[in-house]
Symmetry: C2
């Protein structure tokens, strides 16, 4: 392809709201353009990258015996009602009404559609196992689209669904897909860690995320540098800490204190000149319809997943303002454990070490000082409730956990039989018994991989694509389009590189050399062939985008050298 004909409008500047490097560079390099918040067009160079990632994903899914299908994006709402997600999925699920007033959901994920598809034709155990996948556009009305292609409302992904005879079959399918994902990231040269994750609106009994570690990522992770344990911050567990020994401090007399209008930890601790760790937060939750109070230190966050597990509850939800007021008799911000006898009090284990702490007073504008458990209130249950933080002991090996940020690349779920029960995906087993298919689901963000690659591979001058996903492998720059020697040699090298089977871009625009160098560095083609003044002597330069160390070669060695570099590059 010739740049003189290619639609790749490069920009020197982009709007300041593009905070992530991948967002800025994909815009500047003319790979994408925004149509609306979280909605992007892919220009020719951007689409070539997307297609390369897509093809790697396809090959690795095919390799594990998964079969590609294409499912619709208009889903009858009745179908989502059968799984219960028409409501529970929330406002991320876009809906529309057709000309005959029938409501459709716009494909955000395809568990319902694929389960119904399989249910229609599933008869016998001999049809299983089955892994179906598709690569297509998804629609989710994200509240905060960000980072260009990182978090979009319309994005390109591969989603897969496995159907097995039993749990053991699911384990095998889940393992196979996890391995395929590992190979996908390896071929894209994208380093990743696998962490335990939250099920969210997809649900499931076991779920893992594949993350690229990146300071620009929006997910916080806790990773064990010793044994490899990893989890998202809202899921991470931790081992027993030796710091939990009860304090030997003397119990001081309980003391009410007026705190007019002070509702936040910062306001109260600032006013009382104590540390946030010396305050205890009393959080009112609804757990499977019952009200509980959860106590954690003022400098900690509650891990809702841990709360759920400790209570053995299927669902928990933070209390509404109405519930909090009813239970505590006070406005939001003044809840405390003292006198709260009607509901169970579940306390974070860390509080065993706390003495003489501050809590709300269950009355407007009132807090209590020198509160102590046992003396002032009874704890119904002790449990690990707080979120893990850096330095906590690894739950497996007790090494200190480290906190990192990451970009989610993929997510895999063991779903079990929730969807197959709701949509009647059953088969007759070898013994003639009717059984529900055991399902898993698996997603990898194709457009997000493209962005993550830029986040990982760039410098101050632009993108540095790995060869496996680069839009072209080689770019030939003719520095002076009015110099007959340069044009002749550039065109000749372009033809010969193409003939040798490489993917080549020729910069034949009537632009200054500086513009061509800048654009070549910006768009990040891995190998640059520069045809300049030495063309008169039959010589050209070849260099890698990543180090830009030029090597001058006789023209007839350029193709061989380019091929050699292609072999050696990731």
């Amino acid at each position: 392809m010739r740049t003189s004909q290619l639609f790749f409008p490069t920009l020197r500047q982009v709007a300041a709201e593009a905070e992530m490097a991948s967002h800025r560079l994909l815009l500047r390099a003319g790979f994408i353009r925004q149509l609306a918040a979280g909605i992007y067009s892919f220009l020719p160079l951007g689409l070539r990258v997307l297609h390369k990632v897509e093809q790697i994903v396809r090959e690795e899914m095919d390799r594990i015996g998964a079969q590609e299908v294409m499912l619709p994006n208009l889903h009858p709402e009745e179908l989502w009602a059968r799984s219960g997600r028409a409501e529970s999925f929330g406002p991320e699920l876009l809906k529309l009404t057709d000309r005959s007033e029938r409501v459709f959901c716009l494909g955000a994920t395809h568990e319902e559609v694929v389960t119904q598809l399989v249910a229609t034709d599933l008869r016998s155990y001999r049809q299983l196992p089955l892994i179906l996948y598709q690569i297509q556009t998804k629609f989710r009305d994200e509240p905060r689209p960000r980072g260009g292609l990182i978090r979009c409302r319309e994005f390109y992904m591969k989603d897969a669904y496995s159907f097995d005879r039993d749990e053991q079959g699911l384990d095998e399918s889940y393992h196979k897909v996890a391995q395929a994902y590992g190979r996908i990231f390896e071929r894209c040269t994208l380093p990743h860690v696998v962490v335990e994750a939250a099920g969210g609106v997809i649900g499931g009994t076991e779920t893992k995320e594949f993350m690229l570690l990146s300071e620009a990522g929006e997910d916080v992770l806790l990773l064990c540098p010793s044994c490899g344990y990893g989890a998202s911050a809202d899921q991470a567990q931790y081992g027993d800490s030796s710091a939990l020994a009860p304090s030997a401090a003397e119990l001081l007399p309980l003391e009410p204190v007026e705190t007019p209008g002070m509702k936040t930890v910062e306001q109260v601790t600032g006013f009382l000149t104590v540390e946030p760790k010396d305050l205890v937060k009393t959080l009112i939750y609804s757990a499977d319809g019952k009200t509980v109070a959860a106590l954690v230190r003022g400098d900690r966050e509650l891990n809702e997943e841990s709360l759920r597990r400790a209570l053995g509850a299927a669902r928990t939800a933070m209390g509404t303002e109405e519930l909090i007021t009813r239970v505590t008799g006070a406005p939001v911000g003044f809840a405390g454990p003292v006198g709260l006898r009607a509901i169970p009090l579940i306390a974070d284990e860390e509080l065993r070490a706390s003495r003489n702490f501050v809590t709300g007073g269950n009355r407007a504008d009132l807090h209590l000082k020198h509160v102590n458990w046992d003396r002032d209130f009874q704890v119904t249950q002790w449990a690990k409730l707080r979120r893990a933080v850096a330095g906590d002991p690894c739950p497996n090996c007790n090494a200190a956990l480290e906190e990192k940020r990451g970009i989610e690349l993929a997510h895999i779920f063991k779903l079990g039989t929730d969807f197959s029960r709701a949509l009647d995906a059953a088969f007759v087993d070898e013994a003639g018994e009717r059984r529900l298919a055991v399902m898993g689901c698996y997603g990898v963000g194709v457009s997000r991989i493209a962005a993550a690659l830029v986040e990982h591979y760039h410098d101050e001058n632009g993108i540095i694509w790995p060869l496996s996903v680069a839009p072209y492998q080689v770019i030939v720059l003719i520095l002076n389009q009015e110099d007959a020697d340069q044009v002749k040699l550039g065109e000749e090298l372009y033809s010969r590189l193409l003939e040798s089977g490489l993917e080549v871009l020729l910069d034949d625009r009537p632009e200054r050399a500086g513009v061509k160098f800048k654009d070549a560095d910006l768009i990040g083609i891995p190998i640059q062939v520069v045809v300049g003044k030495r063309a008169a002597h039959g010589e050209a330069e070849i260099r890698l985008r990543r180090d830009r160390q030029p090597q001058t070669l006789p023209a007839d060695q350029v193709v061989a050298r380019a091929r050699q570099l292609v072999e050696g590059l990731p």
Copy 2:
């Protein structure tokens, strides 16, 4: 791929509403499944066909220098408002509201989005010409989805948009795309005719359709067997007919006649025992806001495009009930030219030959007999207004036109500057003048091609895929999965055919031979290799799906013969 692992649920019967062969066979062969009216899932075999058609389309678009992009499907309604189509496109355009109450249109076509995309980055004439295309899902809320993949609400298409410096550039781009389309249909082995068509909601000054002739098609065409002229019935022109000489019949006295409740041509002509051709219909139209009456014979249909041209009007619309009542003073069904002096009367030229005809009486329940032009009313303008019919003279060569039915495969439009003006897609030309890009747009139905191929290539046993789009090239049938010789030879041939570079399906299911033959014929793989009882003697049969004439060969000649057949097949 092994059929024992492939998800291709074949059916012996499908619902009676599947009237078209392609609809029935794609369902029966397990290529597609319906999710809702006009909304289909593609199963693995169906998607393979779709991908093959897609790749042919991509290669032919790339060959003419078009560049592939991917544009979003969520379009801000404001953008469609700028082109005026947010309203005018009608209920086929699906709309939805996001979480912040912003309205989006779901991608039915992409003129607005692509024009805005190009407008943002277009500066100079040197960036033109430019042809951008994409291959993706489109959404149109069709009032009457039909024929499976023939007319869907969610479908897969390639749409392209050209941007040129001037009309001459547009002519060249339009010609290039038309040629690419010709090559696409040739490679898909799909015969087609090119006809003049209506612009519809896309608009444009010149527009042509590529049609597959098929009795099952929903479009009516008029074709000249002599010179190749063709047009859709609502667009077809015709030459001058010698039958238009004025009648020599005597003018009879005008005679009012009571026709209580008789509003249709059938009712009136039945009651008065005259032929439909002896009645004249008076059709009230609004043309660019002015009211006119158009007169055509009772056995003819008005060609609205001809009316528009004759009046030099940009837009015409059939009169509303309110307008008709106001203009004629009578309910709908009783309009006539006599006494209708306030508005222009435009009459079809064919009426020059009519004498003593019947018309409405401009009063409820009244018609007039023995009406004659000139004597009873004045014609403002004579023009060719009626639709062409079979037997009419070709407008080019006067041969008799033939009527055929067809399936639309593709549609190309010269758009001019309507969209570039509305969305400000301008550039600076060589003289430094600011000019609007001159646009064309071009669509070809990828999923519709797949269905049209089945419509064209099938027999009573199933589909007969052309090799270029077949899901696999060869199928190997092991007739008895319990016969060790057959299994050994079948597996061996499967491996060797794969190694030779062919796309092969192996039927290794523990099914009866009859089931395997039926399924093989149904799914339509072009070459069948049958491994049966002769396997013990090291022999297999090879045959084409299209004629099923078996040839028995020693096993070691099967691969060579299969490759030979592949070379020879379309």
